[in-house]
């Protein structure tokens, strides 16, 4: 819901990295976004051309890698993908606890020329 602020941060991070590398232009931005991070890809895509205009990243393509949220089952001692309803382990039915998988929210890499 706060994609405007998020998109600004993305452009800022990418512009700083591109400058460090002496890039003429950024062609691709790879983002890793967990399903629990509350960010909608389409909304970032909508803001991006506005915010990136006039920067080294203005023609960059955005590539999203989405990560599904995983919970941990103490009984089965393994992670499982959080079902649509509830937090129950699909194997034993026990209650899972949250893990860090699904909270990713970072710029993984950029491609430059």
């Amino acid at each position: 819901m706060h994609e405007y602020a998020v998109t600004r941060s993305i452009v800022k991070i990418v512009a700083a990295e591109a400058e460090k590398a002496g890039a003429r232009k950024v062609t691709r931005i790879h983002l890793v976004i967990g399903d629990l991070s509350t960010i909608v890809d389409d909304s970032v895509r909508m803001y991006f051309p506005m915010i990136a205009a006039g920067t080294v990243a203005e023609e960059a393509e955005l590539v999203f890698k989405r990560v599904k949220a995983e919970f941990y089952c103490k009984h089965c001692r393994r992670n499982f993908v959080k079902p649509a309803h509830g937090f129950e382990c699909p194997v034993c039915g026990g209650l899972g606890t949250p893990t860090d998988v699904g909270k990713e929210f970072y710029v993984e890499s950029i491609e430059i020329e």
């Binding site: 819901m1 949250p98 430059i112």
Partner: protein, 214 residues
């Protein structure tokens, strides 16, 4: 050419939040970030806590709201220092807003600073403010499914409050399901069931909060 970046998108906010956290700790300010959906009773809970803490510890309030000053006026009428932040449509407070608000409000050392976040169970969970206590309020009329829908909010809470429990006789609210959801996400946070109308649960909650004050 491909360059590895691996930088958290909200790192700028997180760095400012860390600076806030150090300032609060140094000055022994207990900053309470109050988060809930609209209408859960954030302002009412803060006001009830202030009534009960009056005389024991000084407090001030930062009110986050999209555009109005309705809540800030209520706090001001109590004679409590309050600063209104209008986010202009923004869905959350961020660490920079709090940094500037604290500079302006100048809360005294050894005090409680209540920060009423924007009414929203999603976005505020992603923005660390550098707070001391993350207080999450749910209320009976919202339904018992809130922890199952807003995982990040309940997972990160330091204290969970279930408000409006005087309405339980009139509403099909499954307390067991609510508690089970909260506990799956968060084993540690104490859970208080309260009512701002009857005062039930507030002696316990107030005692807990007093214990957090440094």
């Amino acid at each position: 050419m491909k360059i590895k970046v691996m930088e958290n998108i909200l790192s700028a906010n997180d760095q400012l939040a860390e600076a806030n956290r150090e300032d609060f700790a140094r000055r022994h300010i207990t900053a309470v970030n109050v988060m809930a959906s609209p209408g859960a009773g954030k302002t009412s809970v803060i006001m009830e806590l202030m009534h009960r803490l009056a005389g024991d510890v000084p407090f001030s309030v930062v009110e986050g709201d999209i555009a109005s000053s309705i809540d800030a006026e209520k706090i001001e009428a109590m004679g409590v220092p309050v600063l209104q932040i209008n986010t202009g449509g923004g869905c959350h407070l961020d660490a920079n807003m709090i940094r500037e608000a604290v500079r302006e409000l100048q809360p005294p050392d050894h005090s409680v600073l209540f920060i009423e976040n924007v009414g929203n169970l999603i976005c505020p969970s992603a923005f660390d403010l550098g707070e001391t206590v993350r207080m999450v309020i749910a209320s009976v009329p919202e339904g018992h499914d809130k922890p199952y829908k807003y995982v990040s909010m309940f997972e990160a809470a330091d204290v969970v409050i279930l408000n409006k429990i005087d309405l339980k006789p009139y509403i099909r609210f499954d307390t067991d399901s609510f508690v089970r959801g909260v506990r799956a996400l968060n084993e540690k946070a104490p859970l208080f069931e309260v009512s701002c109308s009857t005062g039930e649960g507030f002696p316990e909650l107030t005692a807990w909060l007093k214990n957090q004050v440094g």
